[in-house]
């Protein structure tokens, strides 16, 4: 009985949040004189309206989820890695180049690419971790700066030495991967590819690690009280570096599967413009770094994006507005409306208490 009440209470928060978010979005839509219902319908259709759209949402959720899972581990350990973008891009470009230039059968190219993508992303992230451990250079700063360096370096690689010059040579991109090295699509003609399996597998694995293994325990305790962890025999540097490698590696994998499963070549900007990194971070934070939660938040955030595309295609609501609605929804979903909040609203008309 009590458990059911608990469950209801914990559901109040997200439901209330989504409702308030949708309501605010409705005001925005109504303000520009569009049909609220129609717009939300298109949004829904664009995200989940048919099997095709559902799979595109999953495809889009794939890199978000992988990045989010990596960050979850780091965040739990109290390590704030802001460098997912750079790790993703560097992992992806290395993987792509290996898969293009490695003289081997397709499947080997693909596997080598995946391994290299994880390794390079992980190592790039590890470098920032190492700089913090060894030279006390704050991760928060180094990872943020490393993004610029990685993205620019990848851009250099595809504009100069490894540019695809077979066509008009006007775009900064690599050659296309051999078809045999592509990640298979899960359904023909649909966007979702095998990378989604990796993401799901990673989520389950991470759940298992966090929930059941000593390492998961150590990560958690380090995040809760680093001094306590150290006192108890946990090596904070080892855990931090492992966390950094894992988060960078998963970000690298995210970039790699996006290339191997969707673009089939590294195109300058194709991984940065969609803002996968920040979206991934939001997915983690919204799910409170819980791996299973991340599956849902990633799909939700991806659905906002594919839904916005649907709105763009099928209504006269301008694209910018779709992104405004998306932002508003995220804002409210992040809010902690609690049962108490609701009561307090009614009782006092709103005196808010800060977080201590």
């Amino acid at each position: 009985m009590a458990a059911i009440r608990e469950l209801c209470k914990s559901l109040v928060q997200p439901i209330l949040a989504v409702m308030i978010g949708l309501l605010t979005g409705a005001i925005v839509i109504a303000a520009v004189g569009e049909s609220v219902i129609g717009t939300y319908q298109e949004m829904w259709k664009g995200a989940f309206g048919s099997f095709y759209f559902f799979t595109s949402t999953l495809a889009r959720a794939t890199p978000i989820m992988l990045i989010a899972l990596g960050l979850a581990l780091a965040f739990r350990a109290g390590v704030f890695n802001l460098g997912a973008e750079g790790q993703m891009v560097l992992g992806a470009i290395s993987a792509t180049l290996v898969a293009i230039y490695l003289p081997a059968p397709g499947i080997v190219k693909m596997l080598a690419g995946l391994i290299v993508g994880i390794t390079v992303g992980g190592l790039w992230s590890l470098l920032a971790g190492f700089m913090e451990a060894r030279f006390r250079i704050p991760l928060l700063i180094s990872t943020l700066l490393f993004n610029y360096i990685a993205v620019l370096f990848a851009s250099y690689l595809v504009t100069e030495p490894f540019q695809d010059r077979t066509g008009s040579a006007a775009l900064a991109q690599t050659l296309m991967l051999d078809k045999s090295a592509w990640l298979p699509k899960l359904f023909s003609g649909m966007s979702v590819h095998a990378g989604f399996f990796f993401a799901m597998a990673a989520a389950l694995l991470l759940f298992w690690v966090i929930r059941f293994t000593p390492f998961g325990y150590e990560v958690k305790m380090l995040g809760q009280n680093p001094l306590f962890a150290r006192y108890g025999g946990i090596n904070p540097i080892k855990v931090m570096l492992t966390g950094m490698f894992a988060s960078g590696g998963l970000a690298g994998l995210a970039g790699t599967v996006e290339v191997f499963g969707s673009h089939y070549r590294f195109v300058d900007g194709a991984l940065t413009v969609p803002n996968f990194a920040w979206t991934g971070m939001m997915a983690t934070l919204l799910a409170n770094s819980h791996p299973i939660g991340i599956i849902f938040t990633s799909i939700l955030l991806a659905a906002f994006q594919t839904g916005a595309m649907g709105v763009e295609r099928n209504t006269e609501v301008p694209l910018e507005l779709a992104s405004v609605i998306q932002a508003v929804l995220i804002l409210f979903i992040s809010a902690k409306f609690s049962y108490d909040w609701w009561k307090k609203r009614k009782a006092k008309g709103g005196e808010s208490h800060g977080a201590a």
Binding site: M221, Q224, A229, G233
Partner: protein
């Protein structure tokens, strides 16, 4: 007649759990009123309600006969109630004066007049004879000084009622003496003091009346003249205290060997320290806090590197080894600051208990922690030490435990490691006398089973009661060593103050 303060039928519930059950209390002007009771009896909770930090579930507070209700500490402060918390509420980066005046700063056109603040604090410090350096940075102050800052802050805020929650738990004997004097001074100048403590001698020394709490209820209020330590103890614990077990004479091999260890960090913190702990021996380390005891323990447990010297544990060289490998070599450690080093407050009792066990073969198989097996063990600990965990039992947040119960949890966790060496810093800090007895008993038993214990305590009585040998630290050195038979409080005190005891030739093993 009206009392300065009257608390009537105060009740506080946390969910299903009742922390205070219809507690009533009066306080007069110029009175020192002690509240005693075992860990988790609800002392702190009662005071938090008085200070506006918790809202009572039921009950009434009357100030000078008038009912009041506080929505926050602000209201309490405005009504002349000040509280010095069990855990200081200070800003380490700020100066002493800044910490005292914060919230009521002297100002001119919005600008903070720091000079005036310093003057005011100096005047206040002289008025109440509480010595302090107003310009020192609080993070560089000793614990005793920090406590004086807290008391001055309360006085500065104009409090007539001053609540002190376990103020002596963290002080050295000398500092305790000063504090008790201060409390008397305050009472003499008309202030009322509520004092929470587990040390019954202090209660007898300083208080006018005493209220005893047990299980959230008042079991009695007595005047000091009508009672004595034993009666109080019985009221608190509900049973007679027992004698400690006999210590079996043991001639053990060397277990821990600290050899010419030096720690330097801007200044020398440990200077050529050498000593040993043998199997079946409790070595007590006495000393005024700040003389390197913390550093010594940190060095032994691997939390701080040494610049010179060697440390051997159970035959293995553990100098500058990782905490993990030192623990594996056979060390368990009760840390001196339970909140800083000993717990993760936002995690459950179970998670806190698990620290150090997560990779032990008994609880770890095929990559997975065996939670069920471990939970059984923790339940055993909780029973044995009567740890009150509240309604959620092992899933209660550690931060919600009362201070003493948390300490018990840490002690039992480290005892459970069953390592040959236990490093115990202030093992009974903040625990009630019943639990103290239990812990002392457990330490003696551990010793009798042939394990070694390195005990650091600011309680000389504790050192004297438990130690086979006593080392005294002064300015980062071992200033002297006393055998159990020859040790007295006087001799130790002299050594602690930097003096010399005849014939003590600094035998370091």
């Amino acid at each position: 007649m009206t009392h300065r303060l009257e608390m009537k039928q105060m009740t506080k519930k946390y969910g299903e759990f009742t922390a205070n059950d219809q507690v009533s209390l009066t306080l007069e002007a110029g009175e020192v009123h002690a509240i005693v009771g075992e860990n988790g009896a609800g002392k702190t909770t009662l005071m938090r309600m008085l200070y506006g930090m918790e809202q009572p579930t039921a009950g009434e507070i009357l100030l000078n006969g008038k009912p009041v209700s506080f929505r926050g500490p602000n209201d309490a402060i405005r009504n002349g109630i000040g509280m010095v918390h069990q855990h200081f509420m200070l800003f380490g980066e700020f100066s002493v004066a800044e910490n005292i005046v914060i919230g009521y700063e002297p100002k001119q056109a919005g600008f903070f007049r720091r000079k005036e603040a310093v003057e005011k604090v100096r005047a206040l410090s002289e008025q109440y004879r509480i010595p302090i350096n107003p310009q020192a940075r609080v993070s560089t102050c000793s614990v005793g000084e920090q406590q004086r800052v807290e008391i001055l802050k309360v006085l500065y805020q104009g409090a007539d009622i001053i609540v002190l929650d376990e103020p002596t738990a963290v002080l050295t004997p000398l500092e305790v003496k000063d504090l008790l004097q201060t409390i008397r001074n305050l009472a003499a100048s008309g202030k009322s003091v509520i004092l929470i403590t587990h040390k019954l001698q202090e209660v007898m020394e300083v208080s006018d009346r005493i209220t005893v709490l047990r299980g959230g209820r008042v079991t009695g209020t007595v005047s000091r003249h009508e009672t004595n330590v034993d009666d109080l103890a019985r009221l608190m614990v509900g049973r007679e205290l027992e004698e400690l077990s006999q210590r079996i004479p043991l001639e053990g091999k060397r277990l821990l060997h600290v050899d010419q260890v030096t720690v330097r960090e801007k200044q020398t913190l440990l200077d050529n320290v050498s000593f040993a702990v043998h199997h079946g021996e409790i070595v007590g380390i006495a000393g005024v806090s700040g003389n390197g005891q913390s550093e010594l323990l940190q060095v032994i447990s691997g939390l701080r590197p040494v610049q010179a010297g060697k440390i051997h544990l159970a035959g293995a060289d553990v100098t500058n080894k990782s905490v993990e490998s030192i623990r594996q070599a056979g060390l368990a450690h009760i840390p001196e600051d339970r909140y800083m080093w000993g717990t993760a407050k936002q995690e459950s009792v179970e998670e806190n208990a698990l620290m150090g066990y997560q990779r032990k073969p008994d609880y770890y198989r095929r990559g997975v922690i065996l939670r069920d097996a471990f939970r059984q063990v923790v339940r055993g600990w909780v029973d044995r030490f009567a740890i009150k965990t509240g309604s959620r039992q092992l899933q209660e947040l550690a931060g919600n435990l009362s201070g003493g119960n948390l300490q018990k949890l840490i002690v039992t966790r480290e005892l459970g490691q069953e390592t040959p060496l236990l490093v115990a810093a202030e093992p009974t800090r903040g625990v009630d006398i019943g639990a103290m007895e239990y812990i002392h008993q457990a330490l003696i038993e551990k010793r009798n089973s042939g394990d070694g214990i390195l005990l650091v305590s600011s309680e000389l009585s504790e050192i004297l009661a438990l130690s086979d040998r006593i080392l005294v630290m002064y300015k980062g050195r071992i200033a002297g060593e006393l055998a159990r038979s020859e040790a007295t409080e006087e001799k130790i005190s002299v050594l602690m103050a930097g003096g010399n005891v005849h014939g003590s030739d600094q035998r370091a093993v």
